[in-house]
Symmetry: C2
């Protein structure tokens, strides 16, 4: 067999036409930062497969997983709306086809709608000729989130985009320091509480004394995180503003919260709009013991639940298994 | 001349029977921390002379300075009430006689009532057999402050006790870091605005959207201070909650504030309950230029004013000229 001599071939960069990303659950509000503070957790996630298509549109090919009849009209879907906003802002000629794999239960208070937005955006971003930095995706994610909740709030989106504990105002994201040893317990009772209903419970204005107390609590928690001082966080991690109005929507809340507090908690409250409940701890062992006790308290009212323990400084959403086509 | 040989005399510690202290003006609220955030300034101060007396009482011998008929009944006087609270808590057998020299104009929004409390407490504390740490005086100061304003708020007291920028919740004080180069401009128009009236303007509840925006602003300012990042403070140092309700009480406020903002300000708002107005700057030169412009804006409406420039990380109250009697 004679080897044939050939000219060396040039390697032509192939456009990436398909990408997948996963965004993990998060705890929003964190007792003191309604709509502005949240952190991601090592736990369930939503996965998005995005394919670049020639048609100038966004279409949702399928939604799998723990999703009960989520809308596949992109304008009514959080992830679809986020991709539409991305297309429009960048003036893209091509479109996206999206397949969602929902891993986060809907109406759980763990940021399921935000996770779909973020996973879809991160996958779609990888298909752009010039991918944007994470922070630049935030505005599109807010558009998507608003479809689900009726409000532009980034306290789930921010932690999913950047990882860890994140301050999320309307205009910007800022990752905050948290000691690596600090963990949370997050217990999700098998019960759906729609974000819109959880927000409706907050209608009506707030008294200045409560606003001042809550501001002081927020300041203590932030100072405690910046200084790595558990005592400051323990003093401040209390929700006097929102929790009193939402607690009646979480079955057996008082006992679940007490179970969380009973294990040397820095504090405990409702995760996002509920019904999930979280506690913060200085070490994994305390968080583990609390999670078990919190699940037992939900069981007292015949509720099954999933319990997880995670560093508070949890993971950011990320790409998985990106394929390149010719 | 023959030198006489003597036995060395023992030095007997003499009880300190009189002390003086000064507490400097402060800027409370600081746009984003209503009732919980404030900082002291290099500027006017209230001075307290306190004498230890055998009688088990607190009496106010005189009040000098810029005080228009302040009550000398200790129960109606902020400093008197603070000393009564100190006596009661420690179960002191002796009493205190107090002379106040008011250097901070009443109703100026610069913490005049707080300064009298703090100066009196620091002087009285020096007369105790076992003086307390600064933080331990805070509760007594709160009792005094409540006499003047009808509310227990420590955002003037905290900075005066500890110096610098201080987070003051009902339960504790925490000094926050601020870059040494950052300065404030503080302009006091000659006009009295009673703290009680300034607080009455805040009656009525607050909308959640404003509370959320203000929380985000507070978080940005705190993060900016901890990280020493002016950009974060500039983004957050805005009062969307309190200033809109109080602005009508400060003559020509919009133009005074704009004058403050026009000199590269990090932000500007009403100092305490007003009518004084402050701005924050990254350097002394900008603060100086702003102070001049702010005073000119007050002059447009025929108001004389005092303008001062100070590091934000201002001074703590301190003892002066303590005398020892036999």
């Amino acid at each position: 067999m004679n080897a044939q001599l050939r000219e060396p071939t040039m390697t032509v960069p192939q456009p990436v036409l398909s990408a997948q990303a996963v965004a993990y659950a998060s705890i929003a509000n964190v007792a003191v930062g309604f709509d502005i503070l949240g952190h991601s957790v090592v736990g369930p996630g939503d996965r998005a497969e995005v394919r670049r298509i020639a048609e100038p549109e966004v279409r949702i090919a399928a939604i799998y997983g723990c999703a009960d009849a989520l809308p596949t009209d992109p304008r009514q879907n959080t992830a679809g709306t986020a991709l539409l906003a991305l297309r429009k802002a960048l003036g893209l000629r091509h479109g996206f086809e999206l397949v969602l794999h929902k891993g986060i239960a809907l109406g759980s208070g763990m940021g399921g709608s935000a996770a779909s937005c973020v996973a879809a955006l991160i996958a779609a971003n990888a298909l752009l000729e010039r991918p944007l930095p994470r922070e630049a995706l935030y505005g599109f994610a807010l558009e998507g989130e608003a479809v689900a909740s009726g409000s532009h709030h980034g306290d789930n989106l921010g932690p999913m985009l950047l990882g860890g504990l994140v301050l999320a105002t309307r205009e910007r994201l800022l990752r905050l320091p948290v000691p690596a040893a600090w963990h949370c317990a997050l217990v999700h009772p098998h019960l759906v509480l729609e974000t819109r209903k959880a927000r409706a419970a907050l209608s009506g204005d707030f008294a200045l004394t409560d606003v001042v107390a809550q501001s002081g609590n927020l300041a203590l928690v932030l100072a405690g995180c910046f200084r790595g001082e558990a005592a400051l966080v323990r003093e401040g991690l209390k929700d006097v503003l929102i929790e009193p109005r939402r607690a009646p929507m979480v079955p057996n809340f008082a006992r679940v919260k007490q179970a969380a507090l009973d294990h040397h908690a820095l504090g405990a409250s409702i995760s996002g709009g509920g019904p999930s409940v979280f506690g913060w701890y200085e070490c994994r062992e305390d968080a583990q013991a609390a999670a078990t006790a919190m699940a037992a308290a939900f069981a007292e009212v015949e509720l099954l639940s999933d319990a997880l323990v995670s560093p508070i400084d949890g993971p950011a959403a990320h790409l998985i298994d990106t394929e390149t086509y010719a």
